[in-house]
Amino acid sequence: MKIKTVDLTRIFHVGSNSVVAVNKVNLEIKEASFVSIVGPSGSGKTTLLNLLGLNDKPTSGRIFFNGKDVSEINDKERRKMRLFHIGFVFQNFNLLPTLTSLENVELPLMLAGKSSEEQRETALHLLELVGLSHRKDHLPNKLSMGEMQRVAIARALANNPKVVIADEPTGELDSATGREIIELLYKLCSERKVTVIVATHDEKITRVSDVIYKMRDGVISV
C-alpha cells in the first residue's frame, strides 16, 4: 500500500499548554517498502505511527492510502481499515492475557466474520510462519518476550493487511530475539509484499530499511 501524508499535524492540549507532537509531516511511502522512523524518545514517533495506523486523528493535514484520503473518514470506517488493511505491532505486545496464542491470532479473523474453520486454519498457518505452532495453546504469560512479539506479529498479519506498523518491536527484546523479529518483518515485506513501517532505536532495523526517516521534536527529515 502506498502511503502519503501532507502537512500531518497532531497537537495535544495539556491544561492550558499545547504540545505539537507531530508537526507538518510530509511522507511518501512506497508499496512493499521497509521504512524506519528513528529519533529520540518523545520525538513524536509513536504519535506519527498512531496517526498512520488510524488509531488517532490528526489535528490537521491529510493521510492518503493508495491515493484515498483517509484522514476524515468516520470512526466505523477507521475501525474497518484497522481490521482489514493495517496490522499493528506494539512494543509491549498487547496480547489479550486470557486468550491462548492461537486465540489471540484468531481474534481479528473472528472480528472480520471468518468462519471458525477459516479462523483456525489461518491462525495456525500464521503461527507456523512465525515459528510458534508448537506454542499455540499457551497463554501469553507462559511465553517468552520474543514469542509474545511473534504472536503479536502473527495477529497483525491475520487479515492479510497491506501495511504493518510496528512501534519499537524489538524494544523489549534481547539482541538475538530482536534479530529474529527483524528478519521476520523483513521477510514479510519482501515475500508478502507488505509495507512495513517501524519506529525504532535499533540500528539493526535501520540497516535493512529501504528508507529511514529521522524525527525530532515532531518534525521529520529523510
Binding site: 488509531n55 466505523k76 475501525r79 474497518k80 482489514f84 499493528f88 509491549n92 498487547n94 472480528l111
Partner: protein, 360 residues
Amino acid sequence: MVLIGIGATTTRCTSVIEELNVLFRGKILVVARGVFVIQAFPVGGTIPENTLQEIKQQIQGVKNATPLVFFLNFETSENLLLPSNVTIGIPPDSWQVLTGNTPLKTGCWPKNETAEEIVVGLSLAEQYGLNVGSNVSIKSRTMKVVGILDSRVSILSRAIIMPLKTAQKIYKFEGLVSMIVVEPEGTVTSNELSKRIEEEIGGIKALTEEERTDIIQPLLNELERWNFGITAALLFLTMCLVATITFMNISERRREFAILDAIGAPKITALRMVAVETVTIGLLGSLIGLILGVVAALVIVSKYTSIPMQLFMPNLTDLLPLSFIVETVGLTVAVSCLGGIITALIANRKLTTEILRGEH
C-alpha cells in the same frame, strides 16, 4: 448474610403467626382480661375452669365450648429466644376443635382424660425420632406417644397434644385453663355471642376472629415493614457490591478494550463482552448469595429454636419465596449489567492510544 438471616427469621415469625389464624376459624376465644392474644393463642393468663360451665349453662347461642391449656416449652439446657415446642391440653372428645381435619399419620388419640399419653407433631417426631410406642419425659413424668399428627402447620407440627386433665396435672394447672374455644350456634353471629359472653361473665374477654386479627395486625404490619426494609437494604447492598466489583473489573480491563479497539473491533464487541460477563457474574453472584443467605438464616433460626435445620426444608418456600428469588436475581443482574456497561462506556472514552502508551 446477617441481614438475610434476620429477614428470614422475621419472615418465618410472620408466617407462623399467620398460620395460627387458620386454627379456630369462625370461633370465639374466651381468655382472661388483659391477656395478649396472638391470633389463636393467649400469651400467659388463665381463667377458672368452671367458666366453661357458666358459658354452657348461662349463655344462649353456644353450640359447643372447649377448654384448652397451652404451654410454651423452652429447652432448659440452652438460652433460646423462641420456644422449641408447645404443649396443648384438650378434652379427649374434642381433638377436632384443635386439629380440624388433620389426620394422624400413625397411631390413635389418647383414650381417656387422665391417660398419660400424647400425640406429637410431625416435626417433633422427626427431630427426636419418636414413633408410636416411644416414651417421652415431660416434667419428670413418662408419657407414651400414641399418635403422630400429620401436620406441617408450624404450631401443630411442633405440638405435644395430651388430654386436658393430664396436662393440668403435670403442669400444676388444676382448675385453670388458658382459654375456652366457643362455637356459636347457627342462629347467632360471633359478634353477638361474644358480646353476650362478656356481659354475663366477668374478668374475661371473648374475642371473635375479626377482633383477634385486629389485635395482631399492627404487629404483622410492623414485621412486614421490617421485612421490606431489610429486603431493600439487602438488595441495595448487593447492588453496591456487584457494581463495585464490576467497576473494578472493568477498570482493570480497560487495556483489553483498548487492544480490541486498536485491532479494529467494533465498539459493540467490548460492550457485548461486558454484558455477557456482568450478566454471568450477577446471575452466579446473586444465586450464590441467596444460597448462603438461606444457609445463614437456617443456622440462625435453628440455633435460637433448637429445631434441626433439615426440618425447615419442607417450608423452604416460606423462607425463600420464588418472587423474592426472581426479584433479587433480576435486580442484581440488571444492576450488574448496567453498572458494567456504563463503566465500559466511560472506560471507552479514554483514548486507546493513551491507554496503550501508558503501558510503556
